[in-house]
């Protein structure tokens, strides 16, 4: 079973397909859950504390805005941990609450800088594309260690 980084990190489709085909999806929910379930000081809404931008310095320079560094403290550990990645490129909703454009660029850059298998896709717009989309993800995941190939 390989750990697969997802982009968008909140994607239902990717999260489901990776788990369905026998691997472990690395999604934002896991990092949020870790913070939500850790006792400490109240810091709503996501329990992101002033410590997070400091942790983010591992992935982003000090002059980078704290919002990017704070987000990188969530996504950075998952990128480091990942053994493969699936990226969907035309995900408009990844700009907003999930991440700013600079964070998204940095995530993609860091994923590509790591020497791991990466599958680049776009969201399927019709059923024919859906068939190919699912087949491509299955083929990619089967080729990873612990896959069915």
């Amino acid at each position: 079973m390989a750990k697969v980084f997802l982009y968008p990190t909140t994607s239902l489709i990717l999260s489901d397909l990776v788990a369905r085909f026998g691997h472990s999806p690395l999604s934002a929910a896991l990092q949020i859950r870790e913070r939500i379930q850790t006792p400490g000081l109240e810091s709503p809404p996501l329990q992101i504390t002033p410590e997070e931008p400091k942790k983010g310095l591992k992935w982003a320079a000090v002059e980078v805005p704290s919002g990017v560094r704070g987000r990188m403290s969530l996504y950075g550990p998952m990128i480091d941990e990942a053994e493969a990645a699936i990226i969907i490129n035309n995900a408009d909703f990844s700009f907003g609450c999930m991440g700013c454009a600079r964070t998204n660029e940095l995530i993609k850059y860091l994923v590509r800088k790591r020497d791991i298998p990466v599958l680049d896709l776009e969201y399927p717009r019709n059923e024919e594309e859906g068939v190919e989309f699912v087949a491509a993800i299955k083929r990619f995941l089967d080729a990873l260690h612990g896959g069915s190939a």
Partner: protein
Amino acid sequence: MTTYNPRYAGTVTKYVFVDSPEMTPSDLAIRAYEISQGVMIKETCFGLQVTGREDDVNRIIDLLRALDPSHIFVKDRGFSPGDPRRCRANLGGARPGYFGHEFEMGLIRNISKGLESLPSRKPGDIPHPPAPSTAPRLDARDLKKIIESQES
């Protein structure tokens, strides 16, 4: 600053989305209540949220998914159901993550079709998925030349 003590510590929460012509969220909820055995089930407009110990949640999810495998989709959730920081009863509108779900649920029938067609696909068939455009974009050097030509 007030002290924060988490509710439902040590549990996991998973979303179960259903988009099926043969099953509604309430059908799914009834099945889930039948096998819940102490796990918290919350029915929603799109499916369920299941909260409990990881093993119990996974067991229930596996049983639910088997009811309609190509139309039931599952993902992790960070918050537990009803968390006042996320629950729309407190926020007065759709919670932020809902828009991502709404977008992907609009495409989910394409994924269902893909899952249904997998068994009939030949093992050696190379998939041709929708891939990002490789058309060249404006080169930074060209942009610089344009700017300089305008300035002079």
